[in-house]
């Protein structure tokens, strides 16, 4: 079950070398490593069509939640997640606005994406990133997770 258009053959090769398995303490009896398991995927029992109840439970407990989206992904596109976040009806704290970063080796501030703050809930887009945001936009991704963990305003 290799996801289409992605090539991780280098990672598969690395993870299956004897030396790597040994250093990771993987017993010889354990299967070869692969990106995804078709067995699991095809026999998986989905129970939920929406995560609304789970989000509401966490938000009611006053825990902080962040939803982020690379804005050129079509597997889980940003618009659907923005609709979902909006549908939770949390109190809006800050209107949707651009957030910025300064690319390394430059001094010019660039738009990293857009952000909308609700009470205990933040929705962030990362401009020009696909499904795997930290792969596509590593610097903005690190800034984003740092802001979240350390309560730094975007």
């Amino acid at each position: 079950l290799t996801p289409p258009c992605l090539n991780y053959s280098n990672v598969v090769k690395y993870m299956n070398t004897a030396e790597v398995r040994k250093q990771l303490h993987i017993p010889d009896t354990v299967q070869k490593w692969d990106i995804c398991s078709a067995d699991i995927n095809l026999n998986y029992g989905r129970k939920y069509n929406s995560m609304k109840d789970q989000y509401n439970k966490i938000l009611l407990a006053k825990k902080k939640v962040m939803v982020y989206n690379g804005d050129i992904d079509m597997a889980c596109n940003f618009l659907g997640d923005e609709w979902f976040v909006d549908s939770l009806n949390q109190k809006l704290v800050t209107e949707r606005k651009a957030w910025h970063y300064t690319p390394e080796g430059t001094t010019s501030k660039q738009v990293a994406g857009f952000v909308k703050h609700f009470e205990d809930l933040t929705f962030v887009t990362v401009r020009g990133a696909g499904h795997m945001v930290p792969t596509d936009k590593p610097q903005p991704a690190l800034i984003m997770i740092t802001n979240y963990l350390q309560d730094i305003p975007f």
Binding site: P3, P4, C5, L6, Y8, N10, V11, K13, Y14, M15, Q23, H25, I26, V30, Q31, W33, D34, I35, C36, S37, A38, D39, I40, N41, N43, Y44, G45, R46, Y48, N49, S50, M51, Q54, K57, I58, K63, K64, V65, V67, Y68, G70, I72, D73, M74, A75, N77, L79, G80, D81, W83, A129, G130, H131, M132, P134, T135, D136, A141, L142, I145
Partner: protein, 304 residues
Amino acid sequence: APPADEIKYMPGLHKQPYWKQYSGYLNATGTKQLHYWFIQSANKPSEDPLVLWMNGGPGCSSDLGLLSEHGPFRIGKDGASVTYNPHSWNNVANMIYLEAPAGVGFSYSQDKNYTTDDDQVALDNHMALKNFFKKFPEYAKSDFYITGESYGGIYVPTLSARVVDDTAINFKGFVVGNGLSDDSMNSDSLVYFAYYHGLIGDSLWDDLSKYCCQGNMTRCAFSQNRGKEDCGKALGPVMEVVYGSGLNEYNLYGTCEGGIGIYFDEESNKVAFTHQKWQMKNNPFLSQKMKFIQDFTDVENHLR
């Protein structure tokens, strides 16, 4: 920390890291053993938060997140050399990468029973977490976050909904990246996304509006048009351009590195889909069509 789990040497890496890393197994329910890879913070491990990361699928490995997304290592094209990622998230957090459910990556179950579901996965991951804190009691009081992407959009909130009730864990919140949050919203918005990004034209958009939308709705519920064949027919080309035209569905402006979403599998003599089948699964016309194609045998003679 368990000394037996410490990774003493990272193959392919020129200079070994100054921070510690561990790899081993965590007990889940029954005979399930979930593989974890724990990367200590490069900053202040005792003060920095503890972050669990889960990739999606369902059935995909979180170690791919470590080695290609926000972990400290990048694997070279040769599959042997390793370099450092300067934007690793372990610059600010202690990171746990958990391969779940059992059967994914190096995780396994001694009874070889790999049938599972959302609730079972949440339970198993919770048990594995408790086992992690047993192995690493020094992190029991750390601020703890659950994060993930894609189908992690289901894994993360379902696990969080359990962990929030567990007073032994200092749970602070969760993060979902490009996650599956709601099937209908994810499917419906994709049609707007395709139109707004120029993947479909006005003529098809007019048909979609005509056959799939109702006047009093603020948004068109493309995925919910039960029994409306014209709507299903109009949606066909949208799905085709997104998943079957050679575009990279994970990165619209990126290159397609190979592997197509829909192909003929010679082993099973059937049409196989490698893309996630979340979209439009509630649209009866499209799901029926998908099932028909998937169940079709003797493909070579009939499905050219």
